[in-house]
């Protein structure tokens, strides 16, 4: 049964990608890309990657779509028809694709437990991590403990990307006189948004702190919390949102998250262990692992939240400036 679901969903994914090529209306393209992300999330669930599916659904379908729509608002909705012929690109793509398909014939069979990928470090993670780290969710154990250094780098990349966007576009000024913006006149939208925003924030906190036991963690929680405030900004307008969470606070939070993460590593250094070795954080190694993972997941959550929201603020401020002009 799982194979049939896999077959159908992947075919739908291919069709969606194909239609993106031919469509000229960029709004439709972006919407299709949202569908594409949701389909990917479904496929990830089917392939047992629940944490990944969670991230793809909130990031790919949520934040990416909003950012792309924000860009379209500034650059225009239609792709102009181009006259130059696309035969050379097609040729390049066909030749590369043919070579890659030929390469896949040597791939080990899909789903075989004896595949090389399943023989390397994975058995150790699967067998030892529940005892060694004391957490049922192996993805969190690997992400936050075994490969914590890796994750530190990725958090730093998110932070750096936020800095990049802010230096390109700039943040909105907080004290600008509030103008009528957002969708204030839609009363149903306003009431519903007011009702569900607290629930979204609550869910983000649940994902943050329950990530050790079920799917979730700092990355997803940060994105969901940012999505709650993005919804607030969309419905009530950017000036109201900057009133709730000011851009300056976000700048500080983005840095504080990375600092909490790296600081946890420095603390373990001072306790005469390796960087990001949590065993020494408490008298009992497993309790130490718990403290360390909660601390760094918190750092990740704060940085991702601040980075995503400040990126949205930057795009929204541009769109608002264009509206005023």
């Amino acid at each position: 049964m799982a194979e049939i679901i896999d077959l159908v969903l992947l075919a739908m994914l291919a069709i969606t990608a194909l239609s993106v090529i031919f469509l000229k209306d960029l709004f439709t393209v972006v919407m299709l890309f949202g569908i594409y992300s949701f389909l990917s999330a479904l496929i990830f669930v089917n392939l047992d990657a629940v944490d990944v599916a969670f991230t793809e659904a909130s990031v790919g379908a949520g934040i990416s779509t909003v950012l792309m729509l924000g860009t379209l608002a500034l650059t225009g909705r239609k792709e102009k028809a181009n006259n130059h012929k696309a035969i050379l690109p097609l040729l390049v793509v066909c030749v590369t694709g043919g070579a890659l398909i030929y390469g896949t014939l040597d791939m080990p069979p899909f789903g075989d437990p004896n595949n090389p990928a399943q023989q390397h470090v994975a058995p150790r993670y699967i067998q030892d991590s529940p005892q060694e780290i004391g957490l049922p969710n192996m993805v969190t154990s690997v992400l936050a403990s075994y490969r914590a250094f890796d994750t530190l780098g990725e958090t730093a990349v998110v932070f750096a990307a936020a800095i990049g966007v802010l230096s390109l576009l700039g943040l909105p000024k907080q004290d600008r006189a509030a103008i009528q913006s957002g969708l204030q006149s839609h009363i149903v939208l306003r009431v519903v948004a007011k009702m569900i925003i607290p629930l979204i924030v609550l869910f983000a906190l649940y994902v943050q702190f329950h990530g050790d036991y079920g799917p979730g963690g700092g990355f997803q929680a940060g994105v969901i919390a940012a999505a709650a405030l993005i919804l607030y900004a969309l419905v009530f307008g950017l000036p109201m949102a900057t009133h709730v969470v000011s851009p300056n606070l976000l700048k500080a939070l983005a840095a504080i998250g990375v600092l909490i993460y790296a600081g946890t590593g420095v603390v373990s250094l001072f306790l005469s262990a390796n960087f990001l070795d949590y065993n020494v954080l408490a008298s009992d190694p497993v309790a130490g692992q718990h403290i360390g993972i909660i601390a760094i997941e918190l750092g990740v959550g704060i940085t991702v939240f601040a980075a995503m929201l400040s990126i949205f603020y930057a795009f929204a401020a541009q769109a608002e400036r264009k509206n005023i002009q």
Partner: protein, 118 residues
């Protein structure tokens, strides 16, 4: 039949990758290029997750009575890659907004013959 099931995921991955690749090199509009880049990226995600799947396994969250789990390592790599991916996409989109402001267009063939403004 088993030959098809064994390789189907990888073929779709290659197809998606090439679709994304084609959009990146053939599309004239920069926003569409970014969408293509994202499709390319997602195909790589799909590849990793497909490699980590074990037939008959479940999600790698320890539970009683379950012995076969899928490989958690690709999940970790891809989970972080998705968030990093959206952050870098945002940088790309921000650059497009600046290009629009400087050149007044986001169509590649329209601004390539304009003089340098930045």
């Amino acid at each position: 039949m088993s030959f098809i099931v064994d390789h189907y995921n990888y073929w779709i991955v290659v197809f998606l990758m090439m679709a994304g690749f084609y959009i990146v090199i053939a599309a004239n509009n920069l926003v569409k290029k970014i969408v293509g880049l994202n499709i390319f990226q997602t195909s790589v995600f799909m590849m990793y997750i497909s490699i980590g799947k074990v037939t008959g396994g479940t999600a790698p969250i320890a539970a009683e009575g379950i012995t076969t789990y899928s490989n958690p390592l690709p999940h970790v790599l891809i989970l972080t890659a998705i968030v990093v991916g959206v952050a870098t996409t945002a940088v790309g989109l921000a650059l497009i907004v600046r290009i629009k402001r400087a050149y007044g267009t986001v169509e590649e063939n329209e601004f390539e013959d304009k003089e340098d403004l930045i």
